[in-house]
């Protein structure tokens, strides 16, 4: 049993404990356990700190079900590491921001929050396709209830839409996983990669494309990529603050993580083939999200649409197939998690005070709540990509990667950055400057200690990640390099393998091709 097993299962234990003990204890218990989990999870940093390694650590590989062989295979590498830490860090913060807000069915609320953490951690560490699918689906249930029970007025519509969209995508993925199993004879992901790279498992173009699409659509719904994004604003607006934070910061990343982790290494050809279309969709998403955010009268909806825009950057970065683009994309996943998480928290603070999400019911908040306003300003600046703050690094790398492929991509995506400055600063101006209205003066108080405690780690990270980039980026770079290599090996096949119509090419040739590819 490694530390990773402990980190994975602690939330489940906490979930059961919270359910078992009386509800007066739930809040404290949730805070204590989630803090504990975070502290324990920091121990996972040890093998990665400052080392540009693509090696996996904390591997556990046990048989879960005999036949068909489904393995409990988890491990951690630079890609999963930060996302995992982000999840474990955000959970106690979510408990903090829900502290007074949640008064109804308290026990269930915190239990679901920890169940969600369990599922999310599982997604980031699973190395068995089946296990991954299990965790992927498990995250759905607590989020469904978090939005459905503790959400706002149209919560039922939003949560059902959220569930069905994700479910529709993931059943396609299940079909693809089953098909892969019938071809590879295993669900074990490293094993499948090995089979692919050694040429013992060859997917024809006709197989790769549907498989890639099945995986990609499931992930793209979660991201969400442009035409599949419609569930997101609804879910975000209706969710309670902690739900929005977890959704934006962690659950959306499951989609982009899935693309990087699974789609590229396994289906490099198809990914390359589809890249122009996907890049186009990503850019449309960037600009569309920004433009829609610009005209939103509702703060939460504005932040939600900004997410569509920001995640467009992530997808764009991934599908440039350049080291810079990929690094930027993964870095941007973390950045978005932190800055958008913080934005949702801040909007939540305002909502708790004034019970309104409409921008027009604010104005002049800076006069009555200076500290809150400063923090909001820092977060806004981080979100629009000001240098020295975290988003700048990610966006810059993505744009650089896009420019390597085509300057047009970079130019169009750069437009998104400018728009984001517009809508965020405009929001800030409308909500925080000007004359404080009646409602604002009566209801808005400055940030309290508990809230400060919740948001401070995020603000610190915004600065830290904007300045101490190399610390965070090193493990990511190494893994990305490896993933790029894997997706390329695949491409070499397509070009060099003799056009054998049906019979499998002779192993000797295949091995030779791999050798050539490796040598480069």
């Amino acid at each position: 049993m490694t530390l990773l097993d402990i980190v994975l299962f602690l939330p489940l234990v906490a979930f059961i404990v919270i359910l078992a003990l009386p509800k007066t204890l739930s809040r404290t218990l949730a805070l204590a356990t989630s803090m504990g989990i975070f502290i324990v999870s920091l121990g996972l940093l040890a093998p990665f700190l400052g080392k540009p390694t693509s090696a996996v650590s904390f591997e556990t590989n046990l048989i879960w079900i005999q036949s068909p062989a489904i393995r409990y295979h988890i491990s951690l590498d630079g890609l999963g590491l930060w996302l995992l830490l982000l999840s474990t860090m955000l959970t106690p913060l979510c408990v903090l921001i829900s502290w007074n807000y949640i008064t109804d069915r308290v026990k269930e609320y915190y239990a679901f929050l920890l169940l969600l953490e369990f599922g999310v951690i599982g997604v980031f560490v699973s190395m068995d396709l089946f296990l991954f699918y299990v965790f992927w689906e498990v995250t759905l249930v607590p989020m469904y209830f978090l939005i459905g029970i503790w959400g706002h007025d149209r919560r039922i519509y939003a949560t059902v839409k959220f569930f069905l969209y994700t479910m529709a995508g993931s059943v396609l993925m299940l079909a693809a996983i089953l098909y892969l199993y019938s071809r590879a004879g295993t669900f074990d992901y490293p094993m499948i990669l090995q089979l692919l790279s050694s040429g013992r498992l060859q997917l024809t173009a006709a197989e790769q494309l549907p498989l890639f699409l099945a995986f990609f659509i499931a992930f793209a719904i979660k991201v969400p990529l442009f035409p599949l994004h419609t569930w997101l604003p609804d879910a975000h607006v209706e969710a309670p603050t902690a739900g929005s934070v977890m959704l934006a910061s962690v659950m959306l990343k499951m989609g982009t993580y899935g693309i990087v982790r699974f789609c590229l290494p396994m289906f490099g050809n198809a990914a390359h083939q589809c890249a122009p279309v996907i890049i186009a969709l990503a850019i449309i998403g960037i600009i569309y999200g920004a433009l829609v955010a610009l005209v939103q009268p509702n703060m939460k909806k504005l932040v939600a649409y900004s997410s569509v825009s920001h995640l467009g950057f992530v997808v764009l970065g991934i599908f440039t197939f350049t080291q810079q683009g990929m690094d930027g994309a993964v870095y941007q996943m973390l950045n978005h998690g932190i800055s958008t998480g913080a934005l949702f928290m801040l909007v939540g603070f305002l909502y708790e005070r004034n019970h309104s999400l409409e921008i027009k019911s604010y104005g002049g908040v800076a006069n009555v709540a200076p500290v809150l306003s400063v923090i909001f300003m820092v977060t806004t600046l981080a979100s629009i990509g000001l240098p020295v703050l975290n988003n700048f690094v990610g966006e810059f790398l993505v744009l650089q990667g896009a420019a390597i492929v085509s300057w047009k991509y970079a130019a169009l995506a750069g437009l998104g950055v400018i728009f984001s400055a517009c809508y965020m600063l405009w929001l800030y101006q409308r909500a925080f400057f000007g004359e404080a209205g009646e409602g604002v003066r009566h209801h808005i108080t400055d940030i309290n200690k508990r809230e400060l405690l919740a948001i401070a780690p995020l603000v610190i990270l915004m600065v830290w990640m904007g300045t101490g980039t190399s610390l965070f980026l090193k493990p990511i770079t190494a893994v990305n390099a490896q993933i790029l290599e894997q997706s390329k090996i695949n491409v070499e096949y397509q070009v060099k393998a003799p056009p054998a119509p049906s019979a499998e090419p002779a192993p000797a040739t295949t091995a030779a091709v791999v050798e050539v590819a490796r040598a480069r």
């Binding site: 079900i65 005999q66 036949s67 068909p68 699918y133 299990v134 965790f135 689906e137 498990v138 759905l140 249930v141 469904y144 209830f145 459905g148 029970i149 919560r155 039922i156 949560t159 059902v160 569930f163 069905l164 479910m167 529709a168 059943v171 396609l172 299940l174 079909a175 089953l178 098909y179 199993y181 019938s182």
Partner: protein
């Protein structure tokens, strides 16, 4: 002539032990009621349970010494034992939820339990039948008992309608089955499954494949009716809605499982040589069953009717495994039926309790705010519904997983994709109940079911454990299914 007559051996009797125990139990129950009088009716359910447990033990004992019995009329193999145990467990759970229901409806009677026992006896015969004549008799015993059970509350119009509809259509379907059996006897000169297989695959036999296909088609009508597969699913919603709730619970699980058991056995033994002829038809049937079940369930407001359509949809998933026509498919169908039995009985157990006297609260909206009144029961209901949706870590998920995996292995890619998309559609109507229970507030109109009776509680715990075990540690059951799926031809 009597010289070479050898009476059946003791081990042959042991192989029909569950059937013997069930028959004796049912008879004793009816006599006991007469002897003890009306006032001792409370003891009937425990007595029936005792017999069922005995029969369960009998099935285990019978399963330890596998082999044919009574001139190969029955064959007790792992497959038979699996289904015997399954239907008996369903019987136990159904009896557990029936007690309080019957008391509430003032209809306590030994006949009810006796009929359940007899019906199970028929299903137990079906599970082990190796002969078309036994198939027919087993099917009739099981069906006639359920016809009567469906109309058990005779003062209830819906009950009567359910019973008469089920009876008329059911008899018609069985007639088709019998006609098919007759023809197959005409063609092959035997009703033994292995011998039919041998005849149909032997190069020496002369027969018209068209005629045999017609036999297979007619028997398909009979079986498809019993498992509620399209296009013979029309009766299912009306009957499951009209029948008393515990009877619906029983009917959607046990007779269906037994019918699938015999369906699979007949098609994978007797007609295995004609796969390419019946596979496309079953493909269409499986697809249509899933689509009809799921899309019709979307529009239901009555919880029993919704679960009825869901039962049709789930039959469609099992049909996918039948279409796969492989050992993996057989094992998947076995596993699926087991997990479906648990989750469906769990759901019906709650409905049985919730509907109240006279089944007043059958609307989905009547469950509004149930999570506030009974958090634990609502949580269990959610657990069963999630399993019916097929969310991982529930039995329903692994059931679907194995079914569709067997389909992929048999290269049925489109059926898999469409079936899985169907299961995403299904999520909507199951979620509706969760939405109502958790996200709506109770009103004056909604039912306010009291505390859950002990029997229902036991059944709920049993089903929940079943769903959990099949969802988290499915290995043992699956191993058993895999080992038993190899049906000797």
């Amino acid at each position: 002539m009597l010289v070479n007559f050898t009476p059946p051996s003791a081990s042959e009797y042991i192989r029909v032990l569950p059937e013997i125990l069930l028959t004796v139990g049912g008879t004793i129950l009816m006599i006991a009621e007469g002897l003890a009088g009306e006032r001792h009716r409370r003891g009937l359910a425990p007595m029936a349970l005792a017999f069922l447990l005995l029969a369960l033990g009998g099935a285990v004992v019978a399963g330890m010494d596998p082999g044919p019995a009574f001139n190969n009329m029955l064959t007790v193999d792992g497959y038979a034992t699996f289904f015997r145990l399954l239907v008996l467990i369903v019987g136990i759970l159904s009896v557990l939820i029936s007690g309080s229901y019957l008391t509430r409806e003032n209809a306590d009677s030994a006949d009810y339990y006796a009929l359940i026992l007899f019906s199970l006896c028929g299903q137990s015969i079906l599970a082990s039948a190796n002969e078309l004549i036994m198939v027919f008799i087993g099917l009739e015993i099981s069906s006639i008992a359920t016809y009567v059970l469906a109309g058990f509350l005779r003062n209830d119009k819906r009950n009567n309608e359910a019973a008469i509809k089920y009876f008329l259509l059911g008899s018609f379907a069985t007639a088709f089955l019998l006609y098919g059996v007759g023809w197959i006897y005409g063609v092959t000169g035997t009703t033994n499954l292995q011998e039919i297989h041998r005849f149909l695959t032997s190069s020496e036999s002369v027969y018209s494949p068209l005629l045999v296909s017609a036999c297979a088609a007619m028997m398909f009508v009979g079986f498809a009716f019993k498992v509620s597969a399209a296009p013979f699913q029309g009766w299912a919603p009306d009957v499951y809605q009209g029948a008393p709730a515990p009877v619906s619970a029983f009917m959607t699980a046990a007779p269906k499982a037994a019918a699938f058991a015999v369906f699979l056995r007949v098609y994978s033994i007797a007609f295995s040589g004609l796969t390419e002829r019946w596979q496309p038809i079953l493909w269409v049937s499986a697809m249509a069953t899933m689509v009809i079940g799921n899309f019709a369930a979307l529009r239901q407001d009555n919880i029993k009717r919704m679960l009825a359509y869901s039962s049709v949809a789930h039959a469609g998933y099992v049909m996918v495994a039948v279409v796969a026509h492989s050992e993996a498919g057989v094992a998947a169908a076995m596993f699926y039926l087991a997990s479906y039995a648990f989750m469906n009985l769990g759901a019906f157990a709650i409905v049985t309790h919730y509907v109240g006297k006279g089944e007043r609260y059958v609307g989905i909206d009547d469950m509004a705010g149930y999570a506030r009144q009974q958090p634990l029961i609502a949580a269990l209901f959610t657990w069963f519904l999630l399993s019916l949706i097929g969310v991982p870590l529930t039995g329903g998920f692994f059931g679907k997983f194995y079914v569709f995996k067997s389909a992929i292995d048999s290269n049925l890619i489109w059926l898999t994709v469409l079936g899985l998309l169907n299961s995403a559609v299904a999520a909507y109507y199951y979620l509706r109940i969760i939405v109502v229970m958790y996200f709506h507030e109770p009103t004056n109109e909604t039912g306010a079911a009291g505390p859950v009776p002990a029997g229902v509680r036991l059944a709920l715990i049993g089903s929940a454990i079943g769903v959990f075990v099949l969802g988290v540690m499915p290995s043992a059951v699956l191993e058993f299914a895999n080992r038993s799926a190899m049906l000797s031809r």
